[in-house]
Amino acid sequence: MAYTVRRPNLTFWEKLYLPNIVAGLAITFNHLKKMLKGETHVVMQYPEEKWDAHLPEYYRGAPTLVTDEHGRERCVSCQLCEFICPPRAIKITPGSLPSDSQFAKVEKAPEAFDIDMSRCIYCGLCEEVCPEQAIYLRKDYAVTGESRADMVHHKDKLYELGGTMPGLVHKWNPDK
């Protein structure tokens, strides 16, 4: 149903419009003055000021690979993350550990592990699906490169970003 919006009854000065323009100019001038004096601080100047200290625990940055406290790669190249990755950013070439390693008969390791950061959508499904808890989304968000090839994170880069994640794998941990 149509209804009528009541218009306010304006006084003569309000109808004249000019005093209100002056009032508006005063408001904007005060904003300008406060900005020039440095009293307003609303803008973060990005490369100099960063928000890193305030990133929440659950922040999903670049996916990385981690090693355990003994320096063993956690990834066993099961390729689950590769299969679940929605934008198909992950590419794993499965391989074995060298035969002189004491774990050679125990588990496998990826020969190559590439994450194309120009495709990654930071969804975190790889982290969620990993049975070995080898892949984690860390807090790096500024991923840059000068070519498409630069944007691919290879295995050594992934381990460098990921570092060590000590503790038992939750899956094998009776306490969890």
């Binding site: 323009i21 904003h31 300008l32 900005m35 020039l36 803008v43 100047q45």
Partner: protein, 381 residues
């Protein structure tokens, strides 16, 4: 015969020198830095920072860092100009090519042509600081400035696209409507001055105090006090009409981004777009200069000596000549900053409100104002 041969060449050389100085030395730099000021002031008013990074690119010449001056970002106009020059000049297939190319020129040229009659200084090096000291000064300004609407109309029409077309229709009706109140509000000023020559207008204001501030000659008579009322009214109407003429907010309906994409220059890119942009700002400068000349005493600085044609080649005369030029452009820049300030304060008018304001209020008030001025001039001595 030497006399006949020599004089015109001197005049032509001096005119070319003055034109080049005015356009490339003063107006175009002011235009580019008005764009910078527009972005910076708008940002500061909205609690942002605006472009504060781009320095002068001296690192291209082997220096360690770019040159950053006090507020930062002063190299932005240079970068903008480079960007406009290097971008792809894209002409859509559906446009009327000839008029599409003609329109940006027609937007830029009238704005710069109006500067020809503006006295931007007194005397310098034995020359009067005005390119053409004609007796129809103010009429020439109105005539040439109204040609500027052709650029916008042709741009909208030749683009063969609905948004530019709507923008140009709005521009033409708006500019034609507000030219009335613009012209009529200048009439009281011309009646008081009694001359159409802009140099004479300034001379009158030197003798009798600026029209808007009649006490700048050190005294205030009853006649000046009474004339102050119509002058104030015509100043307000003239300024409002100038906003509408230059398509500035709150009257920027021809290019209102929220309704018409970008209005009449939607289909333009690269340097052709930049010409519209520069034309708009050059028109702003021309408009502010006219306000300064008619109401704010032009190049005159109160309580300071004025140099003459004879003294303008002596060191003190040259210093005074430069001071007058600086004073003129300082006033112009002041008005430009006011333009920017208003733009980021007021919301846009609706089109019917714009037409109502122009035809029902400003036009009538300006008309009545003429009679009030005439009565004061006739009866108060």
């Amino acid at each position: 015969m030497d006399f006949l041969n020599d004089i015109p060449w001197m005049l032509i050389a001096a005119s070319i020198a003055k034109t080049l100085f005015l356009i490339f030395g003063v107006v175009l730099p002011i235009v580019s830095y008005t764009v910078y000021a527009e972005r910076r002031v708008s940002a500061l008013i909205q609690d942002r920072l605006g472009p504060n990074r781009t320095g002068f690119p001296i690192s291209l010449f082997g220096f360690q860092k770019d040159l950053q001056l006090f507020l930062g970002g002063l190299g932005q106009p240079v970068a903008d100009a480079m960007k406009f020059l290097l971008k792809e000049e894209f002409t859509p297939g559906h446009v009327n090519k000839f008029y599409f190319w003609l329109a940006p020129v027609l937007a830029m040229v009238p704005a710069l042509s109006t500067l020809a009659v503006l006295p931007f200084g007194n005397f310098l090096f034995g020359q009067k600081m005005v390119v053409a000291d004609v007796n129809v000064g103010i009429l020439y300004v109105f005539a040439v400035a109204s040609v500027g609407v052709y650029g916008i109309v042709l741009a909208g029409w030749s683009s063969n696209s609905k948004y530019p077309f709507l923008g140009s229709i709005r521009a033409s009706s708006q500019m034609i409507s507000y030219e009335l109140s613009l012209g009529l509000s200048a009439v009281p000023v011309l009646m008081i001055i009694g001359n159409l020559n802009l140099s004479e207008a300034i001379q009158y204001q030197i003798d009798n105090g600026w029209l808007l501030l009649p006490f700048t000659d050190g005294k205030l008579t009853l006649r000046e006090l009474l004339l102050w009322i119509p002058v104030l009214v015509s100043f307000i109407i003239f300024t409002i009409s100038m906003f509408a003429e230059t398509n500035r907010l709150p009257f920027d309906l021809p290019e209102s981004e929220t309704e018409l994409v970008a209005g009449y220059h939607t289909e333009y890119s690269a340097m052709k777009f930049a010409l519209f942009f520069l034309g708009e700002y050059a028109a702003m400068i021309a408009g502010s200069s006219i306000i300064v000349v008619l109401f704010l005493g032009g190049w005159h600085v109160p309580f300071l000596p004025i140099n003459t044609l004879e003294s303008s080649t002596t060191p003190s005369g040259i210093a005074l000549g430069f001071l007058h030029i600086t004073a003129f452009f300082a006033k112009v820049v002041g008005i430009l900053i006011f333009f920017i300030w208003v733009r980021w304060t007021l919301p846009r008018f609706r089109f019917d409100q714009l037409m109502k304001l122009g035809w029902l209020y400003l036009f009538e008030i300006a008309l009545v104002n003429i009679f009030i001025t005439a009565a004061i001039l006739a009866w108060v001595k």
